[in-house]
Assembly symmetry: C2
Homo-oligomer: 155 residues x 2
């Protein structure tokens, strides 16, 4: 595991995952409307406290905003994996019904990360540290898979 990955625990805002997530969010800011917004303000949508979580109804399919928040999270995981390993990791996400779904990140012919998603309506984290921790956990799992099967990830 490289140094970059190891520093994740020290400052959550400085982990490769959070930096990738911020770039991903800013990439949507085509007219510069968020230029003066702080990074932590941009991440606000990912913070869902216990109280907020309880208040979110779980009926029907999650709205497009929620879905793109989940998609950006896994795109950021992919970007961070690329920064660490030099190999592109692209996510494929599928929402099946009522907030259930699946996400898979692949590099070459290797599935570097795969997860069943549940309760997507409530996708979020208690605080910035939890967001960074969960993101880096996915990055580290993907990096470990690539280190195990490097020739498949390059196939």
């Amino acid at each position: 595991m490289s140094d970059t990955v190891a520093t994740a625990e020290t400052d959550p805002m400085d982990s490769p995952f959070v930096r990738a997530l911020i770039s991903r969010i800013r990439a949507d800011d085509m007219y510069g409307a968020w230029e003066n917004k702080k990074d932590s303000a941009l991440l606000r949508e990912y913070i869902v406290t216990k109280e907020e979580r309880r208040a979110i109804p779980m009926i029907g399919d999650p709205d497009p905003d929620t879905l793109s928040r989940v998609e950006h999270f896994y795109q950021a995981v992919g970007l961070a994996v690329e920064q660490v390993t030099g190999l592109m990791a692209s996510p494929m996400m599928k929402m099946s019904h009522e907030g259930f779904g699946r996400v898979m990140l692949t590099s070459g012919k290797l599935v570097v990360y795969s997860k069943t998603l549940r309760d997507m309506h409530r996708f979020g984290f208690e605080d910035h540290a939890a967001l960074a921790r969960e993101g880096m956990k996915a990055v580290q799992a993907a990096v470990a898979a690539i280190e195990e099967f490097p020739e498949v990830a390059r196939a």
Copy 2:
């Protein structure tokens, strides 16, 4: 390559892919309404002649019937791969917009087949032989990937 795969070319209706596709279609017949329908009649929806193809409009997203026809096709590829190799190959399909999409079949941590889908509105084949040929082409590509990286397919 096993004998089962090699016989694909002789009788299209008897290839592992076409047999898997027929089982997949019959699995939806919960009330036995198609019991007296011949296999070739069940496959009729996959036959789209050049004239029919031209008549299908390409506006908007494909309807749910068309999408499930495409999904059944790749589920049958997965079933046939399992029959040949003993390893489950599960498809994940995502439609992005206007008939474009992507399908990926994975076994364990291996991407055994991946394809960008286009013009899904017109998904279909000139005749039964073409249907069997294209299905078996995907099966053979997946089986070859598993033979190349068996330990990843079992991971």
